[in-house]
């Protein structure tokens, strides 16, 4: 083993994650259809909600046709980041069924390397999708009103949320057998989660029984934090509640909780991952 060198565990984990992230990024331009679908879907949501449903959804306290589009974009951003679950789950399930996970596990690499590399690669991918969404938002009339620094903070929270959701996706991807199952298992629970939030419909418009659920929902927390930072309309059913008073703090807490729960679970799953 004359050619191998001993490095400290942290350096090794970072280096392995870097190599695997390089791999993920190399793959993106070679699967252009994935890139196209990943951006077409949110664009479609923007157009459908802005021009079809939007007219039927009043924003309490914010009259005018443009108010809904201002309201909508943070919801679309958060939804798009939440759907990052699917890219991680499909990617890892695919590696698993092709035997690549076995290959990686037989190498003297850090146990976190494969998932961390996947997460970093997908994060870069999602940042790109976000840029497309921002342009799309500008076209339909969305603006930020509190300056660039605050807007940047909102984008940082969105990426942190994507990062957290990617660990959830990693756990799902390593738990199911095939990429096809991973695609639906990664997404099916996200639809009720995003629709039972403040993403598309203001929570005051929801039945009162659902209002607390929708306001404490992690997706709502991200959306509310973004609306707060962008200076977009952000109505609350209970304006004195914690979610309304501390949207940024709650969004950060949610991200940390998700990461703290799912990152160790995903790494643990990887250790025992078996193809057959």
């Amino acid at each position: 083993m004359s050619t191998t060198t001993r490095v400290n565990p942290v350096g090794r984990a970072l280096s392995d994650a870097g190599v695997l992230a390089w791999r993920s990024l190399k793959r993106i331009p070679r699967t252009p259809d994935m890139l196209i679908y990943a951006t077409i879907q949110p664009i479609m949501f923007v157009l459908l909600f802005a021009y079809v449903f939007g007219n039927a959804i009043p924003i309490p306290g914010f009259p005018g046709a443009r108010a809904y589009r201002e309201f909508l974009m943070s919801g679309i951003f958060a939804q798009t980041m939440a759907f990052a679950v699917a890219s991680a789950s499909v990617g890892l399930a695919d590696d698993m069924s092709k035997g690549l996970i076995d290959r990686f596990r037989s190498l003297p690499m850090a146990r976190s390397g494969v998932i961390a590399g996947r997460v970093i690669g997908d994060l870069v991918f999602n940042a790109f999708v976000m840029v497309v969404m921002v342009i799309c938002g500008f076209i339909v009339g969305w603006r930020w009103h509190n300056g660039f620094a605050q807007a940047l903070a909102a984008f940082a929270i969105l990426l942190l949320f994507a990062f957290a959701m990617l660990w959830v996706g990693a756990l799902i991807g390593l738990s199911v057998g095939s990429a096809e199952v991973a695609a639906s298992a990664g997404l099916i629970w996200l639809f009720p989660l995003t629709f039972l939030s403040n993403a598309f419909v203001p929570t005051p418009n929801l039945p009162s029984g659902l209002q607390p659920v929708a306001e404490w929902n992690p997706i709502s927390a991200i959306v509310a934090a973004c609306r707060h930072l962008f200076g977009n309309p952000s109505p609350f059913a209970s304006p004195t509640g914690f979610p309304a008073q501390h949207p940024v703090l709650l969004s950060l807490l949610w991200c940390l909780v998700i990461i703290a729960v799912f990152a160790p679970l995903a790494v643990r799953k990887y250790r025992h991952a078996t193809t057959r």
Binding site: M1, T3, T4, T5, V7, R12, S15, D16, V19, W22, R23, K26, R27, R30, T31, K98, G99, L100, D102, R103, F104, R105, S106, L107, P108, M109, G113, T274, T275, R276
Partner: protein
């Protein structure tokens, strides 16, 4: 010192429906620099054995050491010393051959430059230089296996695990791969190879362990196993159904077969088989004998013992029927 030692390996898989003992007390010993062929049908426990020995799976009971390191307690050390090439050709389809090897090199802790250099060397050895910049999607099955094997050789491992390296390959690619494996043996690499083909074990392995239902049912050299099975057999189909008995009688005498149990006759297909220790000489003998007796031959051939023969002899059942254990 043995390069690979395993004793009493047990691994049980539980699912809702049933409990499968994939390994039921397997003992193995592979001396340094030798090749062990692990022979058995699907579901016999070959792949599970390899997974335990390469640290991918912990055994429920028993222990194993590779180059003196325990596969459970010193898993990380074992991983840095061995190479594994699996039956599914685990390479990234969207990366090129060169990129795949560079990636594996980096993960084996080479720096970027060393990894590049090693990738070039291996592409050269495995005759993949021309295809180096194509994505793996465009590779043939044989090329993929070669790249997969190249990936397992990056760190110059002293011990190599090959899990059904040629399953599903065409004969030409199989022979190419055999040559590559023999070259590694010549360099002194210890190899544990699993296969479903007796021919392959015969070709490559110094000694063979036959497994079935997670247990060892026979061990020895290829010749010893074949001796158990009874060596080559000659198969004759005569033209006229009325002459089968006379033909078998003549051949039994002429080949000097003393045990009538060792011959078979299927009247409806006019086919008989007899042990042929003399190989091709027996073939000539049979033709002469039948020709002299005026019996017309419809078909004749020598048949080498197959995995099925080994299984039939050792277990009383055929390998194929045991597909999913």
């Amino acid at each position: 010192m043995a390069a690979i030692e395993a004793s009493g390996l047990v691994k049980t898989f539980r699912s809702r429906k049933n409990v499968v003992k994939a390994l039921d007390g397997i003992d193995l010993e592979v001396p340094e620099g030798s090749v062990l062929g692990l022979l058995g049908p699907n579901g016999a426990g070959k792949t599970t054995s390899v997974r335990v020995l390469t640290t991918l799976m912990e055994p429920d009971a028993g222990s194993a050491r590779v180059l003196g390191h325990d596969v459970v307690k010193e898993a990380d050390t074992v991983r840095s010393l061995v190479g594994l090439s699996g039956q599914y050709a685990a390479v990234d389809e969207l990366l090129t051959g060169r990129e795949n090897l560079w990636m594996f090199g980096r993960l084996y802790r080479l720096d970027s430059k060393q990894a590049k250099q090693r990738a070039e060397e291996l592409l050269e050895i495995f005759d993949l230089t021309e295809a180096a910049d194509r994505t793996l999607k465009t590779y043939s099955g044989g090329m993929r296996r070669r790249l997969d094997l190249a990936g397992s050789l990056i760190a110059h491992p002293k011990v190599l695990f090959l899990d059904e390296p040629t399953t599903g390959l065409d004969p030409r690619s199989r022979i190419d791969l055999w040559k590559i494996i023999r070259d590694r043996v010549a360099e002194g690499v210890t190899i544990l190879l699993t296969t479903q083909y007796l021919e392959e074990a015969d070709e490559l392995a110094d000694s063979i362990v036959v497994v079935d239902h997670g247990a060892v049912i026979a061990r020895g050299t290829a010749d010893e196993l074949k001796a158990k099975v009874g060596g080559e057999r000659i198969e004759v189909v005569v033209h006229d159904p009325d002459e089968t008995y006379r033909a078998l009688e003549l051949l039994t005498a002429s080949l000097g077969v003393t045990d009538p149990e060792a011959t078979t006759l299927e009247q409806h297909s006019r086919r008989m088989t007899l042990p042929a220790p003399g190989g091709s000489e027996a073939l000539v003998d049979v033709i002469r004998t039948l020709d002299a007796a005026g019996i017309r031959i419809a078909d004749i051939g020598l048949r080498r013992p197959t995995l099925d023969d080994v299984f039939l002899t050792l277990t009383g059942h055929e390998a194929e029927q045991k597909d999913q254990a």
